[in-house]
């Protein structure tokens, strides 16, 4: 479905990604793991069009999408749920969800999806008229996920969905990610919490200083000694 071939990108003269190649197949849940600054977020930002690749090729179903603006990427079915939630603090919860559906024109479909989000996240319904900035961290993460889903993506990219959440909420977020995949949406997820990410995913890529160091199924990477030493604190 999504394929990166030798993609490099960066900020100014600093290259944050060096020739990254990876693939996400239809229906898969793929994790990107690695230390801070390994290029995980940069990978997602390059895919969603916030950064332009300097070299390499990004294709979606065989069509080149590298360097397209974010609007075009979203229109092709890739939603990006950014790191740090990034809800619009002074927009209401309902408006935040409407922002997620900005490119859609099917009023009835949008209304139906809004209802589905409220059914799935009852807290959001209770707070639909409230400014998103007044929600708790966990509620904001639910809102960010729901907002990304409002575009009806075929592929949804999560950047650190569990960051800064209490342990019980972390569980909940991963359950939601699992649910999303179960409904047929393909998932590409960046996670600091390598253990959880590897247990959750079908396949994973381990990034280090801007390139892919290792790849395999979640179980393979969990069993790999250097992954365990470097990212799982040695013991499982």
């Amino acid at each position: 479905m999504l394929r990166l071939e030798g993609v490099s990108a960066g900020y100014g003269r600093i290259a944050a990604l060096a020739e990254v190649s990876l693939e996400v197949r239809e229906g898969e849940l793929v994790s990107l793991i690695g230390a801070n600054g390994a290029g995980k977020s940069t990978t997602l930002r390059t895919i969603s069009g916030l950064l332009k690749p300097t070299t390499g090729r990004i294709t979606l179903d065989g069509q080149a999408i590298g360097g397209l603006p974010p609007r075009e990427i979203l229109a092709r079915g890739i939603a990006h749920c950014p790191e740090g939630r990034r809800v619009f603090p002074h927009l209401s919860v309902r408006e935040n969800l409407a922002m997620g559906a900005l490119l859609r024109r099917d009023r009835a479909g949008i209304a139906g999806d809004l209802e589905a989000m409220y059914a799935r996240f009852p807290r959001l319904r209770e707070r639909s008229g409230q400014a998103a900035g007044t929600l708790s961290g966990g509620e904001q993460q639910m809102l960010a996920i729901a907002r990304a889903l409002m575009s009806r993506p075929r592929l949804i990219m999560f950047d650190e969905p569990s960051l800064g959440l209490a342990p019980s909420l972390v569980e909940q977020v991963f359950a939601i990610v699992r649910d999303i995949r179960a409904t047929g949406t393909t998932v590409l997820m960046v996670e600091q919490n390598a253990m959880a990410a590897l247990q959750l995913c079908d396949r994973a890529y381990l990034l280090e200083t801007g390139h892919v160091l290792r790849t395999g199924t979640g179980a393979e990477l969990l069993a790999s000694p250097d992954v365990r030493d470097a990212y799982l604190g040695g013991a499982i």
């Binding site: 916030l50 609007r71 990034r86 002074h90 927009l91």
Partner: protein
């Protein structure tokens, strides 16, 4: 007391146009982080376009006001496209210098096109004031007030109730995430600058017939617009509205009760006072809509 009531009415008329000027300027700063030095010149442009349409082309007065506002929006869109878009990644100082240059070009262009002699815009309203109890107000000023408030309301509805308004507020708060939602940031910037410029041109078109039209009319008004915006808190739309009316009242009351000569000074005195006591402006950042 009667005199106070009269000043209250005059201050409201003046405050309405100041509020238009203020929200136009603060909107541009809030969405684009651009300090728009051309704002006062757009005000003068609106007044000159009204003069041109009414006096030179002989068009209907009301049509001329609308035309001047639309031309102001077009000029704003052109400035955004030609000057600001290429400067998107430039630092704020360079952008400021470019905008100061543009303001000088606009002002000298006005001098060159219209000459230095002040112009009078004829208006269809009777010159005899309406008298209600102790208060008398010229019909033209009443018209200015009604249109200002209609524009303020219309602007608020646009921002609060429409998709483009929601996209503008989202861009105001987090441009990158707005882009991820599919917002065309360039488009929002053009629309923002055009609307901000249109509001300034509308204020000029409305006040042009009240006062006189001259090439330097934008100077003091541009300065006042900055004062209003800083008074209300940079980037705050409610703040700019409140600041606009506050400045209108202070100028009227101080002009009426203390000294007409120094009426402009009192406005700035108030601003110095408020900023000394509340440096973040009347409406602090966390309460800002946008």
């Amino acid at each position: 007391m009667d005199q106070a009531l009269q000043h209250l009415v005059n201050g409201t008329v003046l405050g309405g146009t100041y509020a238009l000027l203020g929200i136009g300027l603060t909107l541009v700063f809030g969405v684009m982080r651009v300090v728009n030095f051309t704002h006062g010149e757009l005000y003068a442009f609106g007044a000159y376009m009204t003069y041109a349409a009414v006096s030179l082309l002989g068009l209907d007065f009301y049509l001329s006001l609308a035309l001047a506002t639309l031309l102001g929006m077009a000029l704003g869109a052109a400035i955004e496209f030609l000057l600001l878009r290429p400067m998107r990644r430039a630092d704020i100082d360079s952008t400021m210098l470019v905008m100061i240059g543009a303001a000088l070009v606009l002002q000298n262009g006005e001098m060159w096109a219209w000459g230095g002699v002040a112009k009078l815009i004829p208006n269809p309203f009777p010159g005899t004031p309406l008298v209600v109890g102790p208060v008398s107000v010229l019909p033209l000023r009443l018209f200015v007030l009604v249109v200002s408030i209609a524009l303020l309301l219309g602007f608020w509805l646009l921002l609060d109730r429409t998709r483009i308004g929601m996209a503008m507020r989202a861009t105001f708060q987090d441009p990158e995430t707005a882009a991820l939602m599919g917002v065309r940031i360039n488009w929002v910037n053009s629309a923002t600058f055009a609307i901000g410029s249109g509001l300034a041109a509308a204020a000029g078109a409305l006040l042009g017939p009240v006062f006189m039209v001259s090439p330097t009319m934008g100077d003091l008004v541009g300065l006042k617009a900055f004062a209003i915006v800083i008074l209300g808190g940079l980037g705050s739309l409610p703040g700019a509205t409140i600041g606009g009316f506050a400045l209108g009242f202070v100028e009227e009351f101080a002009g009426g009760f203390v000294s007409t000569e120094y009426r402009d000074a009192f406005g700035f005195l108030l601003i110095i006072l408020i900023l000394a006591l509340k440096p973040q402006g009347l409406v602090p950042a966390k309460e800002r809509i946008g």
